[in-house]
Amino acid sequence: MEGGARRHTFMLPGKLRTCPSITCQILPFFPCSARLQGSLGLWKMYGEGFKQKVSFLIPECGLLPEVLKSTIADIGDYYLVRSLPIHELVAHEFIDAFVKKGSCYALTYKTKIDQDNTAALLPNGKLILSVDKDTYEELGLQGRPSRYSGKKVMRYIITIDLTDAGFHPESKKHNRVLWALKEKKPLEFDFLMAWYNTGAEGSTLMSYFSKHQIQALRPKITFSTLRDLPCPVLQSNDLQGKPEESCSTEELFEWLGAVLNQVSLDNKSSSFLSTYCCPEPNTVVEKAFLCTITGFIIPEKIIQLLEQLCCYFGEPKLAYWLTLTVHGFADSPVSWRESEHGFHKGGENLYNFVIFRNLDYWLQMAVGAHDDCPP
C-alpha cells in the first residue's frame, strides 16, 4: 500500500455497479423516488463511518429552497464528552440504553491515528480500538496487527462486539474486557458522540453522561452565494469528457476542490498562489449556492439531505447538475464500513455525488495511501 500519496478516484455512474471500470450506464427515466431507492441502497453500503464535513454546491441558485433549509436545520446536535474512561462504553447500562436502541456513534477527539491510541464506536455495536504496541501489550485483549504496519508491528486493532450474544453481563468475555479497560490499563479519551434513535423514548446522552463534562455542540453551517462562477459543462453519459463539449470527471473533481477551498480561478498574473483555471468548456453562471456543514455528522442525516437534493430537480431548474461532497475524519480508525483507515501522508477519505438534471449521477471516491479501496 505504499506508493506515494496515492489518490484512488473511482467513478460510478448511474446504477449500482460494483466494478470501478468506466462503463457508462444511462439510467432509464424513472421518477425521483424509484431512482432514489437504487442510489440510497448504494449509499447505505458506503455511507457508514464518521463524517466531518458535508458541502453541496448548486449552480444557478440564489436562494435555498425551504425544504432544504429545514433539512439542514434538522441536522441535530452532537456531544463532546471530556475525559471519558472507555470502560463506560462497555458498561451494560450504556449498551442497553443507546447501542441497542438506535445508532450510537462515538469517536475519540484530538487523537492522531498514526501516533496515539484511538477508539471508535460504530452503529452496528462494534467498539474498535486502534492502539500502539505498548498499550496493546499492557491491555491484554486479543486483537490483530494493523494492515499498514509493516514488518515491525507498531499498531494493533482490537474489535469488541458489544451486541454479541456472548457479551452479556455475567460472561467471561465481558468480565475480561471490563477488567482490562478498567483496572489493567485504564484508558481515557475525549469523545465526540451522537445518537440517532428511531423515535424510541429513553434517556439522552446528555443526561446519561451528566457526571462527566459533556457539552452539546451544533454543527457549524455556512452559506455563501458565489457570483460569476465559471462552471464546467458536463454530460452525464460522458465520463471522459469530449474536447469541445464536456469536461471529464477528474477535471470536475479538481475544479470542485478549488471552489470549495475558495481558490480564485482567475489566473491573474499578480497572483502567486494559484494558476488554476476552470477547465474548458465552461459557462459562467451568475450565481451559485454553496453550503458547508462542519461537525460530527451522522450518515442518516446525510441520506436525508441527499434525498432532498435529488428532489431539487423535481421542478424545472436552470442548473444542469449539483454536487454533494462528504468528508470523513482523517483520524478515524475506520473508513468504509469497518475497513481500516490509516494515515500515511494524508488521511483523506471522501466522496462526491454529482447529480444531474435527468437524475443520472456520478459517485467519485478518494482515499489516501493507507486505506482500503471501496469494493
Binding site: E2, G3, G4, K110, T111, K112, D114, Q115, D116, D132, G140, L141, Q142, S149, G150, K152, M154, R155, D164, G166, K172, K173, H174, R176, V177, D190, H344, K345, A369
Partner: protein, 268 residues
C-alpha cells in the same frame, strides 16, 4: 506507529529562545524532543555537567498540536570525538553521563566510527553532513551497529541554510543508505531558531531524497526515535526495560482466565 520526535535541539544558553523552539516543535506536531548538549574535545578541557531537568527549565510545557498531551522533553549528550583517548570518558563510569537520557557520539575518523559502532555504549552515531565524508562507510561496522540497536543520525537544518551543505547532506546520506539499506536511521534537526524546524511529515518526505522508502522515512521520524529513547533507558538497567506497576490489592489468578475470544470459539 509512535509519536513524532526530534532528537536534536541544541541547548543554547538562552532560556527564552529554547522556550520558543519548544513551542514551535509542539505546534508542528512533535510529541517528544531532546535537548542536546554538545561536548567538543578539541577545545580546551570541558567538563560534563549534570543535565538540568526539563521541569526546572520550563515551568509549563506546551501542548502538542492536535492532541491533548504535553510535549515530552529529554536530555541528550553528544560527544564530538577526534581522538581515541576521548572515548575513555564513555568507558569510565562517570556519574554525570548516566543522567542523560540519550548519548550520541560524533566520530571524525574511520577508526573512531568503527569503535563507536562496535564497542562504545551509545544510542546514536551522528553522520557528518556539513562536509565531504573523510572516510567511506564499510559494511561490517554498520551491520554490527544495527545488530546492537544503535541508530545513525542525519541532520537536515544545515541543508536548509546553505546549498553546498545541501549537496553534502544528500551525498553522505545516500552513501550511508547504500550500506545500511535504510535501516536504523533517525533524521533530526539541529535547529537553533524556530524557523529552521520543519514538520514531521515534511522531514519524512526529505527522507525520500536520501534514498529511504516511504515507510522507512516515516519510521525515521517516529518509530526509530522511540527505539532510540528506549535504548537509552536500557543503558540505565542491566539488559531490558520492563515497566511494572505495583498493584495495591491482589490480582485474581491469571492461569484460569482464558482470553475471551478463544473461549468464544470453543463455545461456538
Amino acid at each position: 506507529m509512535a509519536g513524532f520526535a526530534d532528537l536534536n535541539l541544541p541547548q543554547g544558553a538562552d532560556k527564552k529562545s529554547l522556550q520558543s523552539l519548544l513551542e514551535a516543535a509542539a505546534h508542528l506536531g512533535y510529541s517528544a524532543v531532546a535537548l542536546n548538549h554538545v561536548i567538543d574535545f578539541k577545545e580546551k578541557k570541558q567538563e560534563i555537567i549534570k543535565p538540568v531537568p526539563p521541569s526546572e527549565l520550563f515551568p509549563s510545557l506546551p501542548i502538542v498540536q492536535g492532541t491533548s498531551k504535553r510535549i515530552k522533553v529529554l536530555t541528550r549528550l553528544t560527544l564530538v570525538v577526534s581522538d581515541p583517548s576521548h572515548c575513555n570518558l564513555l568507558r569510565s563510569t562517570s556519574a554525570n553521563i548516566r543522567l542523560y537520557d540519550i548519548i550520541a557520539v560524533f566520530p571524525k575518523t574511520e577508526k573512531l566510527f568503527h569503535i563507536a559502532c562496535t564497542t562504545l555504549d551509545v544510542d546514536l552515531v551522528c553522520i557528518n553532513v556539513t562536509e565531504k565524508l573523510p572516510f567511506y562507510f564499510r559494511r561490517p561496522p554498520v551491520n554490527m551497529a544495527i545488530d546492537r540497536g544503535i541508530y545513525f543520525e542525519l541532520l537536515y537544518t544545515p541543508a536548509i541554510k546553505d546549498s553546498t551543505m545541501r549537496r553534502y547532506t544528500i551525498s553522505n546520506a545516500i552513501s550511508l543508505m547504500q550500506i545500511c539499506k535504510g535501516k536504523n536511521i533517525v533524521i533530526s534537526s539541529a535547529a537553533e531558531r524556530p524557523l529552521e524546524l520543519r514538520g514531521p511529515y515534511d522531514v519524512a518526505n526529505l527522507g525520500l531524497l536520501f534514498g529511504l522508502s516511504e515507510g522507512e522515512a516515516k519510521a525515521a521520524v517516529s518509530t526509530n526515535c522511540r527505539a532510540t529513547m528506549l535504548h537509552g533507558e536500557t543503558r540505565k538497567s542491566a539488559c531490558g526495560v520492563v515497566y511494572t506497576v505495583k498493584k495495591p490489592r491482589k490480582v485474581e489468578e491469571e492461569e484460569t482466565a482464558v482470553p475471551a475470544c478463544k473461549k468464544a470459539k470453543t463455545q461456538a
